[in-house]
Symmetry: C2
Subunit: 305 residues, 2 copies
């Protein structure tokens, strides 16, 4: 494992020199370390790049780390990871990703994650993305998340793009069984000429399923963000989505949430707001001694927390 | 003018045996009556079906009626009406439309309206749509509204589809100059196998322009509605849109509002809610002696008022 991977891991997956429990570290398309635990079995895919991760039924309180790092230009990494979460398991999955280039070559990671959550299982899925390095090569991360939630399963997705990623296309699809719940907190920060597109498609197919989707974005510099979501209520269910964006400088945001109610007992709501930081917020913080830039920084941090 | 036209006019354009002021009545693709006033000149288009309506600058308090009726099957009416509203004018335009068929032939009206609002003018645009008749032929109304608002112009659109229209595709586009305001109240009721699609595209190009778009729909029976809006803030401006829908029976609704902020001083918000009538609202009205159907009817009327 090289030093850039170590630095990226510290940022994206709480690496402190080691991981407790099961993990797989992916570095420039190769495995740089792996450990299974008694309840969490990590195996290489037989038919292509990636992992098959089996989490035994009723596994409780364990964390599995599957960070992926690209540490140099001219790497175009593609990986397929499948997670089978046993009935009644309650686990945390940490799937950070860092891309780094110090030359003109592109550093690119495409991670396609499929989740099969067994009945009554609970997954907290954490994903941090960052781009670093002094190169002119573009840093790109394109995550695809495909989640199938069985009866009463709960998935919480806590995803954040901290910065430095030139181009990202994020795709999240989920199908919810009876009583299943999906909670998504997404935060995206873009600056410079960065582009970010995020697309959610959630289908509530089981009675009393529910989704709560909160997306917050900050578009600074000349960056552009596009948000699209489609929440389908096909039965008695509840859906809520919210996308809020702050513009700074020449940042631009397009927000296109979509709600489809195909059943009289589907109850769906959505809110969106886009605008700059309110002047009075800046003034308040400046009276406390902060410069305008510091005040702006504080507000953005609070918003993306 | 035939009796069906008279009946339709009563419903869609407040006809009481005559109109006060300027009017043009369109019946099955023909002119069934026209009058200009001193300030409102109605002329036939030279290059196709339709009217050119000139409203003199500073015209105040006048109403112009331009209802269109299709009174039988196998009529596919297409009309292009252009409105030139002079600077400082303040007028009401009533543009109701009724389609009627008593046989298996389709009754269809396509009205393409273009508005050029001069500086500081104010237009209240009222549009009621209805389908009637005992025929099996489909009743269709496809209105296109294209509005150009000069500096400080204000356009209020008050549109309602009362019922009986099997298929409608409503398209509204507007471009707003500096300080211009667009206020839209749309209400659509569908039942049976009816289909309704509505699409708004508003571009705020002038500083301090603003749009307020409220769409309410009720989808009963097996009807389907689709809502799409795109509000573009290209400068310092404010945009608000809201689409609320009530489902009854097997009604289905898709709501896809879109906000685009291309300027740091664009402030845009959106809300949407889709669901059935809350049980406690029905119960409250039933304790007042209403049947369940009457209670539902009251709530729908209030919602669409």
């Amino acid at each position: 494992m090289n030093r850039i991977t170590e630095a990226l891991l510290k940022t994206v997956s709480d690496w402190k020199g080691n991981f407790k429990g099961a993990y797989n570290i992916r570095e420039d398309g190769q495995c740089a370390g792996r450990r299974s635990s008694e309840n969490i079995r990590i195996e290489s895919k037989e038919d292509g790049p990636g992992l098959v991760i089996h989490i035994s039924p009723d596994t409780r309180g364990e964390t599995v780390y599957i960070p992926a790092c690209v540490t140099k230009g001219n790497v175009d990494d593609l990986v397929y990871n499948d997670f089978y979460v046993g009935e009644g398991a309650d686990v945390t999955i940490v799937a950070g990703c860092g891309v780094h280039t110090d030359n003109e070559g592109e550093a690119k990671h495409n991670g396609i994650h499929r989740f099969f959550l067994g009945k009554g299982s609970h997954v907290l899925y954490k994903e941090k993305h960052i781009g670093t390095g002094t190169g002119t090569g573009l840093k790109k991360i394109n995550p695809v998340t495909d989640a199938n939630l069985a009866e009463e399963a709960v998935m919480e997705m806590d995803t954040i793009q901290i910065g430095g990623v030139d181009d990202t296309r994020r795709t999240t699809r989920a199908v919810l069984g009876a009583g299943a719940r999906l909670i998504i907190h997404e935060r995206i920060l873009t600056d410079g000429c960065e582009r970010a597109a995020t697309d959610f498609e959630v289908s509530m197919d089981g009675e009393d399923s529910g989704v709560d989707l909160i997306s917050r974005s900050v578009a600074k510099g000349d960056s552009c963000q596009e948000y699209h979501s489609r929440i389908q209520g096909n039965c008695r269910c509840t859906g809520h989505s919210e996308c809020d964006a702050i513009l700074i400088g020449n940042g631009k945001v397009n927000a296109a949430p979509e709600l489809y109610a195909g059943d009289i007992d589907a109850s769906l709501i959505h809110e969106a707001a886009i605008g700059k930081i309110a002047g009075e917020q800046i003034i308040k913080l400046r009276t406390l001694g902060l410069t305008e830039e510091e005040a702006e920084q504080k507000i953005v941090e609070g918003f993306l927390k």
